[in-house]
Amino acid sequence: MYQAKIYITLKQSVLDPQGSAVTKSLHAMGYENVKDVRVGRYLVVDVDAPSKEAAGEQVHDMCRKLLANPVIEDYTFELVEV
């Protein structure tokens, strides 16, 4: 069994309304030293696969097709055996 930790973020070029809102709140709370916040998604996916490569390929696939939207998002992931 493999566990993929997937990080999905908005592309740098895409304005992030959530990130700006969080930045503003943090400033208002006194954390003026916060320079930038980007908000993304974090998915933990458990897959049963014969090998790490096979699992990795599948996760790539899932990300491309469903989990991330390539128009506005990038993804990366880490894979560990569990």
Partner: protein, 233 residues
């Protein structure tokens, strides 16, 4: 003319669209269950608003993989008329039938209110009875209607006259204040290159009868029928 309204799990404007087609056009209209694998025999397909699959992950992302979507994509590629309203628009984006993507509204809140739309393109089957520049009062109700596309796509949209509706003020001026959600270029609705697929965030079915405060939305439904009658002739 026969209309089909797709029902995804979580669609919640399906009944409203069905009702609007009946009330405004008195034409045959049926639900199409998301597990169906054909949309044969329909002259126009509506993807209704709502929260398909709870809008979990991203609005429209999961619905796009419903069995029926393959048929819808096929249908659209063959020139069939497809109207996506709100969540339906989001599904069309996810399915790649229209370019771009949706982000959360700028203020991060759900917004339900009347908006004014400037009709930028009257040559689609959905807007055939509008006048260029006409202002329609149609409500929006969404949390993720902040349309985004990259520069290149935007240029193409403009060049090909694919921007169909833009948010404007009562007088038809396209201003920042009139933009409820931060959508790029005040875009409220776009069509594909051939004009047979339209996606729009505002809800024409919610203002298609006078008793609901405005019947401006009726013109879309009437346009579809008029265009169809013209085409069939």
């Amino acid at each position: 003319m026969k209309f089909g309204v797709i029902v995804f799990p979580g669609s919640n404007c399906d009944a409203d669209c069905l009702h609007a087609v009946k009330a405004v056009l008195d034409q045959p209209v049926e639900y199409i269950w998301h597990k169906s694998n054909s949309v044969d025999g329909f002259d126009c397909i509506i993807l209704p608003g709502g929260f398909s699959y709870g809008d979990y992950l991203r609005a429209g992302a999961i619905a796009r993989f419903s069995p029926v979507m393959e048929a819808v994509i096929n249908y659209a590629q063959k020139g069939g008329w497809v109207l996506g309203i709100c969540n339906g628009f989001q599904v069309l984006l996810e399915a790649g039938l229209l370019p771009g993507a949706m982000r959360r509204n700028n203020n991060l809140q759900f917004i339900c209110q009347d908006t004014y739309l400037k009709v930028e393109n009257c040559s689609t089957p959905f807007t055939a009875l509008c006048h260029p520049g006409e202002v329609l009062k149609i409500p929006v109700a969404h949390g993720e209607g902040n349309y985004y596309c990259d520069e290149k796509t935007l240029k193409e949209l403009k060049q090909n006259n694919q921007i169909v509706f833009r948010y404007c003020d009562e007088m038809g001026k396209v201003t920042g204040e009139a933009n409820p959600n931060g959508s790029i270029n005040n875009i409220a609705g776009i069509c594909n290159r051939h004009g047979n697929v339209l996606g729009m965030m505002p809800h024409p079915e919610r203002c298609a009868e006078e008793i609901l405060g405005s019947s401006d939305g009726a013109v879309l439904f009437k346009s579809i029928l008029a265009s169809w009658q013209r085409r069939v002739k």
